[in-house]
């Protein structure tokens, strides 16, 4: 797995722009500021990152999907179960506290927000990298934080001890709700896209 420092810098900028766009779109839809608390892109050891996630004993609901196109990758949007109910109220535009139990509407909300965030970051990549990217339909799952995260990294972790991961944390303004957004790009296809971008810039 090889990614140069220069590529990492370019990627960091593209991801930050993408997440900024995603957070604006997210905020507009729920009519509340979704504040980015953290955006971090780095090569991480699978045991270390999952050790951190396994310390989080919360029950979560998540939407996972793939980005397919000039480069591929996986995206995960994850929110604690109680937070998903707040998100549902915000999304539907009803007073907070109206949704009391997790049901198909909560699932639909998480699926939709996952879709919106994925499309937003996909569009950003498409415009900055000149790549065509399409998100697959999201799969929604309820489980422990560590278990959901394990599913995200499993395939890459089978063959690599380290994975390239973007971690973003949002806080929904005026609530205690934090939600998480992870991007796990396929490193080979990403490097090809970055090389292509670099060449076209040099030619220009």
């Amino acid at each position: 797995m090889q990614i140069s420092k220069k590529h990492l810098k370019i990627l960091d900028i593209i991801i930050k722009i993408g997440m900024d766009n995603a957070s604006r779109r997210f905020s507009k839809i729920i009519k509340r500021a979704a504040l980015i608390e953290l955006v971090k892109t780095e090569l991480v050891d699978i045991s270390e990152i999952t050790e951190k996630m396994n310390s989080d004993l919360r029950e979560m609901v998540a939407a996972m999907l793939r980005l397919e196109g000039s480069f591929s990758g996986k995206i995960l949007f994850m929110i604690p179960l109680d937070g998903a109910l707040v998100l549902q109220d915000l999304y539907i535009g009803q007073p907070l506290g109206t949704s009391k139990e997790f049901d198909e509407f909560t699932e639909g909300t998480v699926q939709e927000i996952g879709n919106i965030l994925a499309s937003s970051i996909g569009n950003s990549f498409a415009s900055d990298l000149g790549s065509k990217l399409l998100p697959t339909p999201p799969q929604v799952v309820c489980d422990f934080a560590g278990t959901i995260f394990e599913s995200l990294i499993f395939e890459e972790g089978m063959n690599n001890d380290k994975i390239f991961l973007t971690e973003t944390k949002f806080n929904l303004h005026d609530t205690e709700i934090d939600c998480y957004f992870f991007l796990l790009p396929d490193i080979d296809s990403l490097t090809k896209s970055l090389n292509k971008l670099e060449k076209s810039e040099n030619l220009g």
């Binding site: 999952t50 396994n54 996972m64 063959n159 001890d161």
Partner: protein, 162 residues
């Protein structure tokens, strides 16, 4: 791999293994991965291996990711580092669920992980005294090294002790 960690809680990540002595507790979360718990009731030392795949198949990754290389490694730590006697060691296994996944290649890898873990423990003559495996949801397990009791929690179900 550490014998001690900050505080009394030792957390194990995917493809890793850790051992600890009483009064520490060791915990991990499992999906299709299998958690192998070895316990020495005499010294009150326990270890958890969080394995991802049944066989390393000459992959170059960490040996603790695979059952065929990880189980011997955990056993070696218990016997040679913790100085446990083999005849007092017992095993408990958890996890191996059939998880949702975006890849078809990984169809029910949990089941293969369970079968290989059972085969290897039998091969090394380590008795499995308890197991809670399979299903479609995640497991959280916590080993209390003082008692050897493992608290197992499956998503959506009450916690049970093994």
């Amino acid at each position: 791999m550490i014998l001690n960690n900050n505080g009394n809680i030792v957390t194990v990540g995917v493809g890793d293994l850790k051992i600890a002595k009483s009064p520490k507790v060791i915990k991990t979360s499992l999906g299709s991965c299998v958690g192998v718990v070895l316990y020495d009731s005499v010294q009150k030392i326990g270890g958890i291996l969080h394995l991802m795949l049944p066989s390393s198949n000459e992959r170059k990754g960490k040996p603790s990711k695979y059952a065929d290389t990880g189980i011997p490694l955990l056993l070696d730590l218990m016997l040679n580092q913790a100085k446990s006697r083999k005849n007092v060691l017992t095993a408990k296994i958890f996890g191996g669920a059939k998880m949702f996944n975006v890849s078809n290649e990984l169809f029910d890898i949990g089941k293969t992980n369970i079968a290989e873990t059972q085969r290897l423990l039998e091969h090394f003559s380590i008795k499995i005294t308890a197991s809670r495996v399979g299903g479609t949801k995640g497991h959280q397990i916590t080993l209390d090294t003082e008692t050897g009791i493992v608290q197992s929690r499956i998503f959506g179900e009450p916690a049970k002790e093994y």
